[in-house]
Symmetry: C2
DNA sequence: CAGTATTGACAGAACGTTCAATCAAGGATA
DNA sequence: TATCCTTGATTGAACGTTCTGTCAATACTG
């Protein structure tokens, strides 16, 4: 469409769209070519060796989205009453981004069938987020702002608390029916979490 | 294999296995026939009109698994210190059941691509569990055992807290590496939740 | 004119599905 | 009891379609 992006990018964008909505098997080279606005599927093989390579290229192209929640040094010493709502807001902001939504559908959908992708998704994304959260929570226990506890568990609990609401946004519209907003959920859920880990005086 | 179960059941079992590991598109009639131990794919069409019907039959066959967490009347008035760990244990027991695991992979994997399935999964399963949990939590607030709060949010938070640990069991083995056991996680996570909702004296 | 981009046509394989034919078992008939 | 007939189960082969990937020819661009 736009003249600025070249054919390769057009194909990658179309492939991303097709793969994320139909899955690797469900998306066809023909449908991708059509969505990319090229006349012949053969052109795709001019830019990519085969379907699998195109799929990997799509993943690599959108990989940077993972680095959303990073830079743990800046918030390490700030109090959880500030940091945790911030993380939650950033989380929901990411989840509300249509591109990120497609990426999650794509990754989860394929990781369910491909152990190698599950490994990447688990280690490079989820475990990374959990690790940085564990470090932060440990630090806060150290500082006496949270009571001592197993941070492996609290890190899971914190990100987990946000998951059903996020799932409602991404692929389970039925969960939206009780009208709970992201903001309300952050307030209540983070409140429970903080209150539950408040150090005893 | 066993003589007791008839052909139809053999085919359904094999189809369940194939669909859950490879997805609807990835599983072929031929591979299902092979897994079911029948010589010809044609036989499948003797028992089911087409692939789609076979898929639906598989879903219906394993639908009862959803009714695991039901019967809200029995625990409605029992204290959360007992009930919540029980629910969590039941949850992890379900998640550890290989058949239930396959069912979840299948439902989630296909619901990501089929809005109609997402509707069923959301409404008939997830929303149902959340609703019964909301009712229970409301009742406990009424009884003064939990402080007043938005139960839409706390219900999500409670089941959500368990999700990452469950995901580790089902399809993200990387999450198991820090060695947190289900029991430990229940203890810590439920502890945070209860402490976070303790009524102020 | 050289090199790249793009195309239509096409080959080979796999897929879902259909079909005619075979087989095993049981009931009816004599 | 011996024979026929019906019925459902099962199979191998085949059909039409679709998919991935190849190729040679053409259009475009510097």
């Amino acid at each position: 469409m736009t003249e600025a992006e070249d054919r390769r990018t057009q194909i990658l964008d179309a492939a991303f769209e097709e793969f994320s909505t139909k899955g690797f098997k469900g998306a066809t080279i023909k449908s991708i070519a059509g969505a990319a606005g090229v006349q012949s599927p053969a052109l795709i093989y001019h830019y990519f060796p085969d379907k699998e390579a195109l799929f990997n290229a799509v993943l690599e192209t959108h990989a940077p989205i993972r680095s959303a929640v990073e830079d743990p040094t800046t918030f390490m010493d700030r109090p959880p009453e500030e940091v945790l709502p911030e993380i939650a807001r950033a989380y929901f902001a990411t989840v509300s981004n249509p591109v990120a939504q497609r990426m999650m559908k794509l990754m989860v959908g394929e990781a369910l069938r491909r152990p190698s992708l599950a490994e990447v998704l688990g280690r490079a994304t989820v475990a990374r987020i959990l690790d940085s959260l564990k470090k932060y929570l440990s630090r806060q226990v150290e500082l006496g702002r949270l009571r001592p506890h197993d941070v492996r568990s609290s890190a899971r609990a914190f990100v987990g608390m946000l998951v059903p609401q996020a799932a409602g946004r991404i692929f389970l519209p039925a969960l939206r029916e009780d009208g709970l907003t992201d903001k309300e959920h952050i307030e209540t859920a983070v409140g429970i979490f903080l209150e539950g880990l408040r150090p005893e005086r």
